[in-house]
Symmetry: C2
Subunit: 204 residues, 2 copies
């Protein structure tokens, strides 16, 4: 009846964002229309990210520094601890915990045969090369690789694969603990989590 208007187009694009349904998209679009300068400021921020942000050549996190990211270049971090995560956003979570001050390595996903993600699609080769370079002495030695992968099917599969690949090398491999979340109620914790919490019980 009518051609698709600019506003409908914007609502359609906003609707593609995760967690944003048609009604939220409409509300966001009207906010954008109502708020002077916001649209151009958001466009500028998007454009800058498009132009500037790229993957760090060492850890494969996002960075807009020249080549290496802030975590790879920070002189106040330990070189012997390497935390392996699935996504760049996971780094912010680990940082939020405040208990890790080593380096990172981002796999850019997890092994998932159902989604056609095999080890070759991930930054696993690069991880092994990083460990090897430490052992060979061409890079700082890595003593411990901490696998901070999701405790789901894909994460478990990836942990098993990495454990096998790292086993022959002279490096300690650990995985973050699964168990009862802090502040939760044991009544509401699912069976598998509670089972894991019992298996991984800690001596006081």
């Amino acid at each position: 009846m009518f051609k698709i208007g600019s506003l409908e187009k914007l609502i359609h694009e906003l609707n593609r964002l995760p967690g944003v349904g048609p009604k939220t998209a409409q509300r966001l679009a009207y906010f954008i229309l109502r708020t002077p300068e916001y649209s151009s400021q958001l466009r500028a921020a998007l454009h800058q990210v498009e132009v500037m942000v790229h993957l760090c050549s060492q850890c494969f996190s996002y960075t807009d520094a020249d080549d290496l990211c802030r975590y790879c270049t920070d002189p106040n971090r330990r070189d012997d601890l390497l935390c392996v995560v699935e996504e760049p956003s996971d780094i912010a979570r680990v940082e939020g915990s405040g208990v890790f001050r080593g380096r990172y390595h981002v796999l850019q996903g997890a092994i998932s045969p159902l989604d056609n993600v095999s080890p070759q699609d991930l930054k696993i080769r690069e991880l092994l090369e990083r460990v090897d370079a430490g052992l060979a002495g061409t890079k700082p030695k890595i003593n411990e690789v901490i696998l901070a992968l999701d405790p789901d099917l894909e994460g478990d599969t990836t942990v098993l694969y990495l454990a096998k690949m790292l086993a022959p090398k002279d490096v300690k491999v650990t995985r973050i603990a699964s168990g009862v979340p802090i502040g939760s109620d044991i009544d509401y914790v699912d069976d598998r989590t509670l089972g894991r919490a019992l298996e991984n019980r800690v001596e006081l």
Copy 2:
């Protein structure tokens, strides 16, 4: 310690959207980074809205048509019914009901002394001129003005003001009914809504 990066800037801008907290903003930013072409498509949609969308010179809804919006130019709508709403987004809600096929007038807000919004800040003068033009015969005659304003303090104030301004004119003024929402449970309806539903009871 570090300069604010492009990614942090984007997260900051997304955080300004209504209902988007810091964590959601981060998730949206990572979605944008992960999704090829999305960023430029969203920028294009934003830019088009900035360039194209303006207020309809008759009803003050948003439009990217030349001068008048689709609701003002649609030949299949009745000219004698005028629905007055607060915001352009309210038109989509009224359209969704499917029971109104007249014209619209957007006030661009409601009277709110606390927020420094007085009648002069709204499109009230333009509404009265529209009604007058109908009565004078220079525009199609408006027989009924339906006030579809929010049933809150600001909406009530605006309804009272408009009723007073329209009273001397030869035009019927109505307000949409307040009452028990369809599909709701009377147990959970608040006192004032139920009171209004009783006052406005309909003879069967």
